[in-house]
């Protein structure tokens, strides 16, 4: 991929971060940390990889995306809005009565949402079923999972089934930011070594920096990692990536901005957007 294209994707990811802050401003709080750690992956999927049509969200044989860690819904909403699935004004309804943007996604409220996720440990099974159902059509299924949710046993049922049935049109990204609401994942319930576990279950696994756009794109270009095997990208990410004073803190899992925190966060993101806009122009 050319440098300019890569920078454009990075710029889009930061514009999506801006969308997330817009929702937090509207709703006064939200699952911030995981939304910011996973947004680079979601951006690459929606703006680089997936065969989708925002004007025809139910297009036959489209690729599917689902967010197993549904509490990171602002990632999905931000990307869908940026991609043109719905008017960005809808973002301002986040947290309001009857919003189309509930705290976990609802496929009947918003175009582009493929599954009602949020109860942890469900997504990989649903994604596996989708991929099985789409076999032979060319369509692919992508899921973003959280590292905290790996403790749910149902994930491992899905991991076994996907490998057993050789479902190689499914790819899961593990947003491995290392933190969950109570603290470090390794302190709460360590599932390490994660990559080895998925390999042992029969998945083809690659580890990347999940906030590095080049590494994300390279992984996407290499799918499936092995024919006949489901692909797992263990994406090492930083919770809250992009807002310096929140990065790598469990406290930002669910963030209620206080004082001037929101303004400071917005200033950081806007500065990054400006810098990336300049960089894109220069690269072009």
């Amino acid at each position: 991929m050319k440098e300019a294209e890569l920078l454009r994707l990075e710029l889009t990811a930061y514009r999506c971060r801006r969308n997330i802050l817009r929702m937090i401003e509207a709703g006064h709080h939200g699952h911030f940390g995981g939304s910011f750690s996973s947004i680079d992956i979601a951006t690459a999927l929606y703006f680089y990889k997936m065969n989708i049509d925002p004007a025809n969200p139910k297009m036959e044989h489209r690729d599917r995306f689902l967010l197993s860690a549904g509490h990171k819904c602002m990632t999905q909403y931000a990307v869908l809005a940026e991609r043109g699935y719905f008017d960005k004004a809808v973002l301002d309804t986040y947290g309001s009565l009857g919003t189309k943007l509930p705290g976990h996604p609802d496929m009947y409220k918003l175009p582009g949402v493929e599954a009602n996720t949020g109860a942890l440990g469900h997504g990989l099974s649903i994604a596996t079923g989708m991929a099985l159902g789409l076999r032979g059509t060319g369509a692919k299924v992508y899921a973003i999972m959280g590292d905290g949710e790996l403790a749910e046993g149902s994930n491992w049922e899905a991991a076994a089934a996907a490998a057993h049935h050789k479902v190689d049109n499914v790819t899961a990204f593990l947003d491995n930011n290392g933190l969950q609401i109570s603290g470090r994942v390794t302190d709460v319930m360590s599932m390490e070594p994660i990559a080895e576990k998925f390999r042992a279950f029969g998945w083809a696994v690659r580890e990347i920096d999940g906030n590095d756009m080049r590494q994300i794109v390279d992984a996407l270009d290499s799918l499936p990692f092995e024919a006949g095997k489901p692909s797992m990208v263990v994406a090492h990410t930083v919770k809250g990536k992009g807002v310096s004073f929140l990065e790598d803190t469990a406290a930002c899992h669910f963030w209620t901005p206080k004082g001037d925190e929101l303004e400071r966060a917005k200033a950081e993101i806007e500065a990054k957007i400006s810098a990336l806009e300049t960089a894109v122009k220069e690269a072009e």
Binding site: A115, H122, G129, M130, L132, G133, A158, A160, A161
Partner: protein
């Protein structure tokens, strides 16, 4: 099928699905190491590419079925009743109910038809928990003809369905007819009492009604193979006419068809309602016929309970 024949409910169900699948390639069968014992051997042979064995993972299978349904398939997942209702309940609630997916769960060996395997394998709360999932249809066919026709209706219905079937050979009670979801059938009319029965208990409820007749008690007997949604119109009409309703089911007295009927009639037609089922305990283990007798769900027990309810 001839009236009076005794047929295996699982084989009857499996054969019905296999027959339907011949004409509808959207039908796929899921298995949690449960397919062969759910009557699907013919399907496995005839449609190997539409048969998904996943091993003993009911949560995973329910989620996978949901994902398959999003692509237009009609997954059928039959296993031992508590394991397709309790074990995977959150998947049924979210991935099937909330996601409105066209998946059919079938609980076999339901109630305490797995009598001597103990309470882990009994399902005496499945009506209660499954009818609490908005949009979920709950069926309990009463004989082999209804198993066959309910299987067809279940597949034709767009949305999640839970159907429970028993285990021991079931007597053919009815002529073949179309199964209409949400409709009961009046099997006998009388003015002294309405007895509503569903699923496995209807065969004994019919015999109980005959015993009552010999004692001069004439009951209206309603066979109710749809537990949810309720046939409100029929239930209210019967309650108005007979003034008393007794519900018989192989289920806890709480939350099942009896509970649902009591909820309805308390608002629409308040009459005395007797919920006759299993008390809220882990049922004892033993031969099925003995369990039915112990919990007064055999014909004699149903008749005695009706007489007590009538103060006779």
């Amino acid at each position: 099928m001839m009236i009076g024949d005794k047929l295996d409910p699982r084989k009857t169900f499996g054969a019905a699905i296999d027959e339907l699948a011949e004409k509808d390639d959207r039908i796929v069968v899921m298995s949690a190491d449960s397919g062969g014992s759910s009557g699907h051997k013919a399907f496995m042979k005839n449609h190997p590419d539409r048969y998904f064995e996943c091993g003993i993972m009911e949560q995973g299978v329910t989620g996978i079925a949901s994902g398959l349904a999003t692509t237009g398939k009609i997954p059928i997942f039959c296993a031992i009743a508590p394991f397709v209702t309790c074990r995977n309940y959150e998947m049924a609630r979210n991935d099937l109910g909330y996601m409105r997916q066209n998946v059919k769960l079938v609980g076999r060996n339901s109630g305490f038809t797995y009598s001597d395997l103990g309470a882990t394998h009994h399902s005496l709360e499945d009506f209660a928990i499954m009818r609490m999932i908005p949009g979920m249809v709950v069926l309990a066919p009463q004989d082999p003809t209804e198993i066959r026709s309910a299987a067809k209706a279940m597949v034709e219905h767009v949305g999640p369905v839970y159907m429970r079937i028993g285990n021991p050979a079931m007597e053919v009670l009815f002529e073949d007819s179309e199964f209409v979801i949400g409709k009961g059938r009046v099997l006998q009319s009388g003015d002294d009492l309405t007895i509503v029965s569903t699923g496995t208990t209807t065969v004994d409820a019919i015999k109980a009604a005959d015993m009552l007749k010999s004692k001069g008690v004439n009951v209206t007997l309603v066979g109710m193979p749809t537990v949810w949604p309720l046939d409100k119109e029929l239930l209210v009409e019967c309650a108005k006419r007979t003034g008393r309703v007794m519900v018989v089911e192989e289920h806890y007295v709480y939350g099942g068809l009896g509970g649902a009927v009591a909820e309805l009639l308390s608002e629409e037609c308040p009459v005395p309602v007797k919920r006759h089922g299993v008390p809220h305990v882990y049922a004892i283990s033993g031969p099925y016929a003995d369990l039915l007798a112990y919990y007064k769900l055999d014909a004699k027990g149903i008749a005695e309970t009706a007489l007590e309810f009538l103060g006779k």
